[in-house]
Amino acid sequence: MGMNWLAHLAARAEVPVFLAEGEAAPAEYAHLLARMPALRMVDTPRAAAILLVVGTVPKALLPQLHRLHDQLPHPRATILWQSRNDLSGAKRIDSAEDIGTAIKTLHSDLLAGNVESEPDILPDAPPNEWRGVGPHGQGGKGMMGGTPYGRPMAMTAADLRDGLELDTYTADFGPFLPMFPPGLVLKLTLQGDVIQTVAVTHPPFETTEDRGWVLLDLLGLPALAQRKLRGDATGKGSFDRLARLTAARAAIPDGLGRTHDGSDVRARFDHLMSRRDSALNLHLHHTGLDDLLVGLEWHEAMLVLNSFDTASLRTICGNTPEPETDDDADGEDDKKEGGMDHGAHAGHM
């Protein structure tokens, strides 16, 4: 009874939706979704009830989609919008008119228990085999060894900026992070919040979506981003006035993300805000993502990434070295071992 009452209230809330964009998504889908009052796009799958797959996620990125799917809290459901993907239990919608009501209905059904929450796609097992040692069953061999709780510990490497040998964090970021262009998967090595190495695992999808609003969002102006996303209904004059008021342009560091032709994030931001249709002619022949991102901290790097249109970004990704393939993966193991030895030696462990 109590639960019913809560579910009843919850069903009246805006439906929290996490977007997973695929290839060949419907045109202007972000604008369309922004105009639906009953939906709310959230930043993280942890806050979402509905996973909305827009367009088709290519085969290479399906494992990522599955991982993302499983990260949503129960009760959860998936909607495939103009998508050729196949997810068990997911509902298919093709027309743009139905999408708002379909999501809303599905959410109410989920809460009322009419629709079962979707189970995990992946098996319920830790990412790595591990059996704890130690007095409480946690941990592995030695101080840094083993795979405590299913993962190894980070290993040291010299830092780019100040040379301290602290731990690095390597992972594939994307393709379904809201601050990444759709489809882009980067293998990043971070030390602290500064990017040490970049490799492109998967380039962004080809779209012509205008992503100026993302830049506003990244600058901490979600309301203004939403205004831009919702389009001209509210008048361009008032938007420009508000944008000037926020000093968004001044907040971007001068010269950040400068390409060889001299355009920087500020210039590209101006261009995105001015809504001119002509593309900014960028000369990107020798610019790779590693030139642009290495040594930047996270926020700056995200600004740089989102300041390019998709076509330019694809060119840039083409100039970037691929991540190591299988051959090198062995080498990487060596590196881990080496790091471990080194760490153990240094720490008298």
């Binding site: 942890r46 709780y149 907040a251």
Partner: protein, 304 residues
């Protein structure tokens, strides 16, 4: 006013404040986003939706600290509200050094937000936590300076005395630099707008990225509690607190708190966030000298 009565008034004030802050947040967001409607009940529906979802824990999280971060953040915001006098001689926490106690709350916020980002063992949350500390620590200096400036004419660190010293003229006029600087601190304490380095969009929600279900609702409540506590302290230190004609003191205090709340929420939506290193430089090189000037001017005015 006896202690239980004062405590009850404070609780009511807090609950209404949280509800009002949540509604205001929605209304102002929609105004700026150009969406119609005033969603009065939406925050409650949203809270219900959070509560009806599962709470996920990450791989080997620091459960104790995760819990303490949320509970502690709420408590610290409420302590901030408790030092505010509701009328002459009737603060819940009537201590001679209430300004310092508020400073302790500010310092603990940095610790708790850091713990919130640390606990889930997740990269984006961790980055948010560390970035927040970089800004959260130095910006406390601003608040300390402007509050000390406000304490000078009162010759006391007691917020009750500070209110009494504003009977002739409010501190917002006597020390014009004080309130703006203090509002910046408020943005940082409540993780909002240009100082939202902890829970920002570029980190998919930062320290809150791994919060789901009830904990997500709890963290939002904590942020709103802090907003209410901060606004009440700002209204007391700079806008004369409970002072005002005709209406009873607590009503005046509530009205002024509301004004500060609107200011904070409005600013948070209308100021762009800059990369963290830039902000760090700005605080030390520009804002801190301004706080010095504020203190100097306040000192000269107090002596004159």
């Amino acid at each position: 006013m006896s202690f239980p009565v004062a405590f009850l008034i404070m609780l009511v004030f807090l609950l209404f404040g949280i509800a009002l802050a949540a509604i205001l947040d929605g209304v102002i967001y929609r105004r700026i986003a150009g969406r119609p409607g005033i969603p009065v009940l939406m925050p409650f529906y949203r809270a219900a939706a959070h509560l009806s979802r599962q709470r996920i824990e990450t791989e080997a999280p620091d459960r104790l600290n995760w819990f303490l971060a949320i509970g502690g953040y709420i408590a610290v915001g409420a302590v901030g509200l408790a030092v505010v006098p509701l009328g002459p001689e009737s603060a819940v926490i009537g201590i001679k050094t209430s300004v310092v106690l508020w400073g302790a709350c500010e310092a603990l916020v940095v610790v708790l937000v850091f713990l919130h980002g640390w606990s889930p063992n997740s990269p984006l949350a961790l980055i948010g936590a560390y970035r927040y500390v970089a800004i959260g620590l130095p910006i406390m200096l601003l608040s300390m300076f402007v509050l000390i400036a406000a304490a000078l004419p009162a010759q006391s660190l007691d917020l009750r005395e500070i209110v009494i010293s504003q009977e002739d003229i409010w501190n917002v006029i006597r020390q014009p630099l004080g309130l703006p600087l203090f509002l910046l601190l408020g943005l940082s304490l409540t993780l909002r707008g240009p100082f939202d380095y902890a829970d920002s969009t570029d980190l998919a929600g930062g320290t809150a990225a791994e919060d789901s279900g009830a904990y997500r609702a709890g963290w939002q409540v904590a942020r709103l509690t802090m907003l209410v506590g901060f606004s009440a302290v700002a209204a007391t230190a700079f806008l004369g607190g409970y002072l005002g004609p005709v209406l009873p003191g607590p009503v005046w205090l509530a009205l002024k708190t509301l004004v500060v709340m609107v200011l904070v929420i409005g600013l948070s939506h209308l100021l762009a966030r800059m990369p963290v290193a830039r902000m760090l430089g700005l605080i030390w090189k520009v804002l801190l000298p301004i706080a010095f000037v504020d203190l100097l001017l306040a000192g000269l005015v107090a002596l004159a």
